[in-house]
């Protein structure tokens, strides 16, 4: 099995050279940090990933969780991994000192999580969900809930979950039916079913803390009647001991991939004795939950990119070692065979993987940097970064997820028949990455979010800021003779995106929302290619400058590789924008106007 799953050099390039995270230290929240801390943090993450997580990658896939006597049993390594994430401070990494965090920039913490997920994606589900759930409690919970639950979750002792989906309500959360009935005891009585709850039950944690959406009896219908509850698997008695809280595991699902982490169906209140504790105010649950969902969406994009990274390095290693065939121009069978990396088509597949992996990671770290920068005390600046983060979150979630599937598929293709077999990790990566286009809002939902909400919000203010940000990179690249053709291409694509956006928005203004959003997923794809091209051009600028300034032969090789990968993205992926734009400009409602009966043949 390949030992390498991420590039440390690339992480440093993106963190320090492209997104310049050291500048964050100017803000009071990050002022204790410096490159020295970040390097040591990354060193430690790499070591934990390599020694504690990667060795269990395959076994966790092969020995999936099982439900025994009402309790889900997971791979024994999970306990040690949760403990290390807790005691090592990784779950609380970017949280404030007051709650035991280290105030690490999200960009650096995410880079570490990327390393962990590349080593063993399934195992990162447990601590990352716990971090998101704890953050939600700390943001909106009562002091009592904060003190009771958050410390044990941040210590990795208790598992956190997000319990949203129900059998009849997945993408459409307004249709949930889980009920919460007020009592005089300071809690609500919960009844209902939740499905697809990741880490919803397991034996590596002392308790499971569900952040659950439910409707309070008598509340308004739809999304406006959704409240957020903390529903523990075991509630705490007055003497501090735990007792069962009438949360039953009905099923643990058998999945295509992501098999190390149990996905459960839960039943609450079968004995009418399930207690839920209201978080924040009644009926505001969905808006609170969006905090966790947005964090989770970035995390999903990060995890997808990390799996694609592991697949890239496995395919690269194979391509360098596997002798097969000869150059097309030299068919002499007496000549030795060449490693397949010498074949143009294999290089194309490797470059596609790099284009996706490094473009995605750069976008995710860009989003994290916006999040970190939004901590500034300058209100206007803070809003600017928050809006950019809002706009780009659906792109950072869906592009790595959708393109990551294709990238891993190309990695598998490089291994040929071996790629399809369990002896190599590619088939697992291919199965593992598939979930990301589904969970935390499917690609279709992300597309609706981008076009239907984010692009048009505040009269298109976020979109204008985005055009400014991309425009600044275009302008800088135009100063460099080698990059100016790419600046031109990106400017062209940006203009196209602007025209397509106007065309779509016209339908919205005319009140034809069906046509407006019918091809939102294609719009998301177009938007994503432009966004990733922007990230590649930003990387190209840094690489060109470093080469101009002079650097060591090893660095020069790295930067030249970057420029090759950037050029690949512009020449092979960039042109796809034209086809997408052509279709989007048609906007003829082809799918809207078709009848369902026309599908039957």
């Amino acid at each position: 099995m390949a030992e390498r799953f991420v590039s440390r050099r690339n992480l440093e390039f993106l963190l320090y050279e492209v997104h310049r995270v050291e500048r964050l230290s100017a803000q009071p929240y990050f002022s204790d940090h410096s490159r020295e801390t970040y390097d040591l943090v990354l060193d430690t993450a790499m070591k934990i990933a390599r020694d504690l997580m990667y060795p269990h990658l395959q076994e966790m896939d092969q020995k999936a969780p099982v439900l025994e006597n009402g309790q889900v049993k997971v791979h024994p390594a999970i306990k040690g991994i949760m403990k290390e994430w807790g005691e090592g401070g990784w779950i609380a990494a970017s949280m404030p000192y007051e709650v035991g965090g280290q105030q690490l920039p999200t960009a650096v913490a995410t880079a570490c999580n990327y390393v962990f997920a590349a080593a063993n994606f399934s195992s990162t589900g447990f601590p990352l969900l716990t971090a998101g759930a704890a953050h939600l409690i700390l943001s909106y919970g009562s002091d009592d809930l904060k003190e009771t639950y958050a410390p044990r979750m941040l210590a990795g002792e208790w598992q956190g979950t997000m319990a949203l989906t129900e059998p009849q309500a997945g993408s459409s959360l307004s249709d949930i039916v889980t009920r919460a009935e007020p009592t005089d005891g300071g809690y609500y009585r919960i009844r209902g079913q939740k499905i697809f709850i990741s880490a919803g039950d397991h034996d590596a944690a002392g308790n499971i803390v569900h952040m659950m959406l439910a409707k309070i009896k008598g509340g308004p219908p739809g999304a406006k009647g959704i409240s957020l509850f903390l529903v523990p698997k075991n509630r705490i008695k007055s003497d501090g001991m735990l007792e069962p809280n009438d949360v039953t595991v009905a099923t643990v699902y058998h999945k295509l991939g992501y098999r190390g982490c149990p996905i459960t169906q839960l039943s609450m209140g079968e004995n009418d004795d399930c207690r839920g504790y209201l978080v924040g105010e009644p009926h505001k649950g969905l808006s609170y939950m969006f905090q966790m969902m947005n964090e989770a969406r970035l995390a999903v994009g990060m995890q997808a990119a990390s799996i694609a990274s592991a697949a890239y390095y496995a395919a690269l290693e194979y391509a360098k070692e596997r002798p097969q065939g000869r150059k097309i121009s030299s068919k002499d069978p007496l000549q030795p065979q060449i490693p397949i990396i010498e074949h143009a088509d294999v290089r194309r597949m490797l470059l596609f993987q790099r284009g996706v992996v490094e473009g995605s990671l750069s976008l995710i770290l860009q989003c994290c940097t916006y999040s970190d920068l939004s901590r500034t005390e300058d209100v206007e600046q803070s809003q600017r970064y928050a809006l950019l983060l809002d706009l780009l979150t659906p792109v950072a979630k869906s592009y790595p997820s959708e393109s990551g599937i294709l990238a891993v598929s190309q990695g598998l293709q490089i291994l040929g028949g071996y790629g399809y077999c369990q002896e190599f990790p590619l088939e697992q990566y291919y199965r593992d990455i598939r979930i990301h286009a589904i969970h935390e809002g499917t690609t279709g939902i992300q597309a609706l979010d981008l076009l239907g909400r984010k692009v048009v919000m505040k009269n298109g203010q976020a979109m204008r800021l985005f055009l400014e940000e991309v425009g600044a990179v275009v302008q800088e690249a135009a100063q460099d003779s080698e990059l100016s053709p790419y600046a031109e291409r990106l400017k062209g694509a940006l203009d196209t995106l602007g025209q397509v956006t106007m065309r779509q928005v016209q339908f919205a203004l005319q009140g034809d929302v069906e046509t407006f959003l019918a091809d939102a997923t294609l719009y998301l794809e177009l938007f994503s290619i432009v966004t990733i091209a922007w990230q590649w051009l930003a990387q190209g600028i840094v690489a060109r400058k470093a080469l101009d300034a002079g650097c060591s032969p090893l660095d020069a090789q790295f930067y030249q590789g970057k420029i090759h990968a950037m050029r690949y993205f512009f020449h092979y992926e960039g042109p796809k924008t034209a086809g997408l734009a052509a279709r989007l400009m048609e906007a003829d409602g082809l799918t809207v106007n078709m009848t369902a009966a026309a599908f039957d043949d």
């Binding site: 040591l40 060193d43 430690t44 401070g89 090893l554």
Partner: protein
């Protein structure tokens, strides 16, 4: 319990080592450095002793160029208290004797109940510094240690060490020098709070002059070379099985000389 831990920064085991063109050393560009794994066992054991006795200190002592600070800092992030970094051009790349002299001189300026060294460094594989250090300090030493029990009065240690095919248990008076072997413990990872605390922990920089030594190596390396590349295997094709067997046996005896 005061432990002095001698620690060396070495190339990561996953680094591909290349010899430089003139054969005088290795190419250092692009190398990722880590704490010598055997020294990591030492750090962990010292931390456990401090935790067991609920008092004391773990002092890290390292010799090397500026980058060695990273290794000391990592040990501090694991929980060690202080570092001494002997940074002196005349000591870099010197032989085990010079290293032991410098370690001994630095040790003489500190207080300790016990000294830990890795039983060897994974880069040059000499495995001599620990023994020489004990000799120079006139201390007893136990090598290849896999278990340490310190008596409550801190006058002696019961130590288990690797011997061929088994273990040997010895008693040694303190202070002493122990050289750590794999199996001694599972070193902890640095933690994020530990990393933040490590930034504020003191690292004392010293030169050869500060230690009052003028090192004269006893060893000079003449050349570095890579092991020969593995040659391709040999295929025996187009023969009847009995003939193949004969040919293979002959090749193993006459060419490979293994039977």
């Amino acid at each position: 319990m005061k432990s002095l831990v001698c620690l060396k920064q070495v190339p990561d085991t996953e680094t591909q080592i290349k010899v430089n063109p003139d054969g005088t050393g290795i190419v250092t560009e692009g190398i990722k450095y880590v704490i010598n794994p055997y020294d990591e066992f030492s750090v962990e054991e010292a931390l456990r002793l401090k935790e067991k006795f609920k008092a004391g200190e773990v002092l890290i002592l390292s010799i090397g160029p500026d980058r060695a600070t990273e290794a000391i800092r990592t040990a501090l992030a694991m929980g060690a208290d202080k570092g001494i970094h002997i940074s002196d051009e005349s000591l870099n790349n010197s032989d085990p004797f010079v290293i032991a002299q410098a370690l001994a001189a630095a040790a003489a300026q500190t207080e300790y109940d016990i000294i830990f060294c890795g039983h060897r460094a994974i880069d040059d594989d000499f495995g001599e510094a620990g023994a020489m250090l004990a000799e120079l300090l006139k201390l007893p030493q136990v090598t290849l240690v896999t278990k340490v029990d310190i008596a409550d009065d801190k006058t002696k240690a019961i130590v288990e060490r690797d011997v061929e095919g088994g273990k040997e248990t010895v008693e040694v008076p303190l202070p002493c020098v122990l050289t750590s072997q794999k199996g001694l413990n599972e070193p902890r990872y640095a933690s994020l709070p530990g990393i933040m605390k490590a930034k504020k922990k003191p690292i004392d920089k010293k030169t050869a002059a500060d230690l009052g030594i003028s090192p004269e190596p006893k060893l000079r390396s003449n050349a570095y070379s890579m092991p020969p590349e593995r040659t391709a295997g040999k295929k025996f094709e187009g023969m009847e099985p009995p003939d193949v067997a004969k040919a293979v046996v002959q090749a193993l005896r006459n060419e490979a000389k293994v039977i």
